[in-house]
Amino acid sequence: MDNSEPIVDGFYFLPPGLAAWIQTFIPEHDFEGTIPWKPLEKPISETTFALVTSAGISCTGDTPFDMEREKSEPSWGDPTYRKIPRGVGETGIRVDHLHINTSYILQDINVILPIDRFAEFEEEGVIGRLADTHYSFYGFQWNGNGFLDQAVAPMAEQMAAEQVEAVFLTPA
C-alpha cells in the first residue's frame, strides 16, 4: 500500500453471494509475475491523455456492442471496441452492458468516462493535452483474452498516432 487511507472494500455494493462467488476467482497470494511499468516521464501538465472505459459505450450510428449473443452464450462477451471522439455528448452515445445499470451514463457520460473533466483540466493547464479519440470496449470478457488483439491493440495504435502518453481507465 502507498498510503494510510482506509482500505477500499471492492465488494461493498454487491449482494453477499455474488461477492463471495467473485472472490473465488481471486488468489489469496500476491501476484508473482512481472508487472509492466512505464513511469510518467514528465509533469502531468505536459502529458497527453486518452481515456478508456469498458462500459460498452458506442456512438450513435456505430454498430452497438453485441448483447444478443451473450444472452444466448452466457460466457461470451463482445471482444471489439469503439472510438469515442472528444466532445461527444450524452445524446451522441448509446450504452450496452448486461452487468451494470447503464442509465446513469446516459445522463452524464462523465460518471464513467470523464471527457468533460479532462477537457476542463486541459483548458486550465492541469494536463498537457486531451487526445481527440477515446475508447470503449466491453467489460465482460470471461472466455479468453481475444479482446486484447481485437480491441486493445488497435486502440494502442490509434493512441500512438495521436501522441498519447498516459491513459486513464475505468472498468465496468
Binding site: 477500499v8 471492492g10 488468489p27 509492466p36 445522463q107 473533466r117 491513459v167 486513464f168
Partner: protein, 111 residues
Amino acid sequence: MGLAARFLEEKGFSTAVLTPTWEFHRAVGIPRQVAIQYPYGRLVGQVGDTKGQRGIVKEALAFLQASETPGAVRHLPNRWPEPPKETHWHPPEMSPIIAANLEAIKKARRR
C-alpha cells in the same frame, strides 16, 4: 481492465485504473490502481457532480505522477452517499453469467 492496462503499459503508455475491485491485482498484476468505493457504472462520481468528479480525477492524476512501484494502489477515502441497496447499480435483468451460475453463487455464500 487490468489486462488492458498491462497491455498498454507494455506498449509504452503510463496507465491508471480507477476501480473498486483492486484485489484482482493478485490475479492479474495491474501496474497502477486508484481504488474507489463507488458503485460500478459511476466510478468517477454522481450524475452532474462536476466538483466531485474533478476531485476523483485529480487524485488519480496525482497518483499517476507520484507512484513509483509496479502494482501500486492508492485507496481513496471518498465514500458513496447512499447505502448499497439504494445505489441501483445493477442491470434491470440478471446478467446471463449470473443466471447460469446461481447454484455456484449460493454455494459460495454458504462457505
